[in-house]
């Protein structure tokens, strides 16, 4: 009896040690946005623990550099961020405050995903602040293009393989599965959005450029006068004319923006306002990158079919 108890005890200890060592092996990853976190989870599977700083419903331009985020980054093996100055207001404070050499620029634990995509809307000529919250290296909302998600996933798989060569096969396999899943869905999303391609829309902020480029939707104006600058009455009048002249039926805005101006235009012109999540977690249904894109596509198709 005693021998049996001892065997059970030793087995339990062994199991505990095994679980602990498996847990300890996990790569700790901090991402700036929930889309990056979702894709990283798909690629890293059980070998990673992932935490996103921005929540899905937040505007990632304006996150508070809270000390608790420094603690997260202090414990991280890898920092993955969107770049193109999306996080310029707050990320440098977190990196400095984290005091973690691993995640500093040029270190293996530092990954800027904008380096693997082709940025759109790179402003030409000299820039200054009178142009609003302009991004000199291009529009940073590239996560909303499924083709870019594949590029992001590739870069994440490369980085995880570099940091954890032992499990490279798993990361490559997960990457293949992710690409397969995206491509399967992409043809479906394309065929559904094909019905509304070339439809003209007005947006609140230039959040959707990559999505529209991929699916052929025509953005003809923004409610913001300039990026990050609220509209003047004159600009609103111009947008109202644009809506009427081009028979625009839909305004699209991200969930983290105030609906005041879209609703005002809606009341004056009868145009419909569609509020979409710009990141995973923006609405309860958007639990992963796939479900977020599915939600966006469904909402867009419904918006135009109900007119």
């Amino acid at each position: 009896m005693k021998k049996k108890s001892l065997t059970i005890y030793i087995s339990f200890l062994f199991l505990l040690l095994t679980v602990t060592s498996v847990q300890a092996k996990k790569i700790s990853i901090v991402t700036t946005t929930t889309d990056i976190a979702s894709i990283t989870r798909e690629i890293g599977g059980n070998f990673v623990s992932v935490d996103s700083i921005a929540k899905g419903g937040q505007d990632p331009h304006y996150i508070q550099a809270k000390p608790s985020y420094m603690v997260k980054l202090n414990r991280a093996d890898l920092l993955i961020y969107q770049g193109l100055q999306l996080e310029i207001e707050w990320l440098s404070f977190l990196i400095e405050g984290a005091r973690n050499p691993k995640v500093r620029p040029l270190q293996p634990g530092h990954l800027d995903l904008s380096s693997v995509i082709e940025p759109l809307e790179i402003p030409l000529g000299d820039l200054d602040r009178s142009m609003g919250h302009v991004h000199p290296q291009g529009n940073p909302h590239y996560n909303l293009s499924p083709s870019n998600a594949i590029k992001m996933a590739n870069a994440i798989a490369d980085k995880l393989s570099l940091l954890d060569q032992e499990n490279e096969i798993v990361y490559r396999k997960n990457l293949d599965q992710f690409v397969l899943n995206i491509n399967d869905r992409l043809s479906n999303w394309k065929s559904r959005l094909n019905k509304i391609s070339n439809k003209k829309v007005i947006v609140f902020h230039r959040t959707w450029v990559y999505l529209f480029t991929e699916f052929g939707i025509d953005q003809i104006g923004t409610i913001e006068k300039l990026p990050g600058v609220p509209p003047t009455p004159m600009h609103l009048a111009k947008i109202k004319n644009l809506i009427e002249q081009n028979n625009v039926r839909v305004i699209i805005q991200a969930i983290h923006y105030d609906s005041e101006f879209p609703n005002l235009l809606s009341s004056k012109t009868g145009v419909k306002t569609v509020v979409l999540p710009a990141f995973v977690g923006g609405v309860p249904e958007a639990t992963s990158y796939f479900s977020t894109m599915e939600y966006i596509v469904t909402k867009l198709v419904n918006a135009f079919s109900n007119l």
Binding site: Q58, P67, S68, N74, N100
Partner: protein
Amino acid sequence: MKLFGILFFLIGFFYPSIHAHAVSKDKTREDIKQLEQRIKKLESRRKNSQLNNISTATGLSPSFNPAISLNGLLLGTYNSEGNDNSSQSNKTGLSVQEMELQLAGNVDTWFRVAATFSMEGTSQFGMEELVGSGLITNNLSLQVGKFFIPVGKHNQLHTHSQPFVATPVSNEMVLGEDGLKEIGFGANYLLPVPFFSEINLQILEGENENLFASTVNDGFAYLTRSANSFDLSDETTMDANLAYAFGDNSLTGTYKTTEVLGVDIRFKHKPLGREAYRTTIWQSEFLTSTREQIKTGFYTYLQQQFAKHWWAQGRYSHSYQQSDRSDQNQYSLALSYFPSEFLETKLEYTHLNQYAADENQLFLRLNFTLGAHKGHSY
């Protein structure tokens, strides 16, 4: 003749379409030609810009210039007591409250420097901060130079990022009108605990005339501080900090050492998502110093962002000096408008209740930032 007629008819019939096709082809060719010319121009411009970049020969490269920013504070003041009293800090009139020039950049892979020069009024130009910092190892960073000493939260803020125009009387009384800035070096260590907890240790020259200013050569001042932050929820954070500094002063005997204590606490509530522009901040700070006499003071304020570009705030500050049992009570109300992160207009009313005649102060201030100024920490 008949054949000629048919040919003429055919040419006449097809000519417009042949001509149109030819014209369209010509137009395409012309377009391509124009595009080629544009590409050549751009390539040549790029080549020229590369030729202009002769830094290898000159040894001068603007690519590595530090980030430069300029902050300006233009102030209009009304004081009910007029300008007769020369010791009065806020006088009726128009002024450049401060201009601040900041240069920041990486010196090399390991060391970063930020220098801030300030000009009060239009003539007094001086160095406000010169801070070098570097990460030594995991969790440990070092700081060296001249910097604001982290006794309380208010003392660490540059003038343009202070929430009110009038300095709290508690800070003026305990740390002096210019606050506590010292030359020295220090170490910051992030403790390996589940919440944010940092220990600062600093060795300082001890130049502040209100507190230290030792005449003895080796009369340094020393500071130890514990800074802590807890997330009460995703939307609410509490910070609690405690700082203690001591050092020799210009006196001898019983009172030759000055001790300073600062305690501050802050709650910040910022809703997630669409309500992100409804931030609430409550912050309080207690300061005391012991020298030949005890000086104490505190302030408490509430700030509310009620729209994307608007903040309203109120503060009460109290100071007390044991020697003459004099105290001051200061009440401030302010309304701020931020068209962007780089521009602010503030209207503030402050009532100062003191042993001398009470003062009613009204401020209207324009605060702008030009250039590559970094955002402010949490």
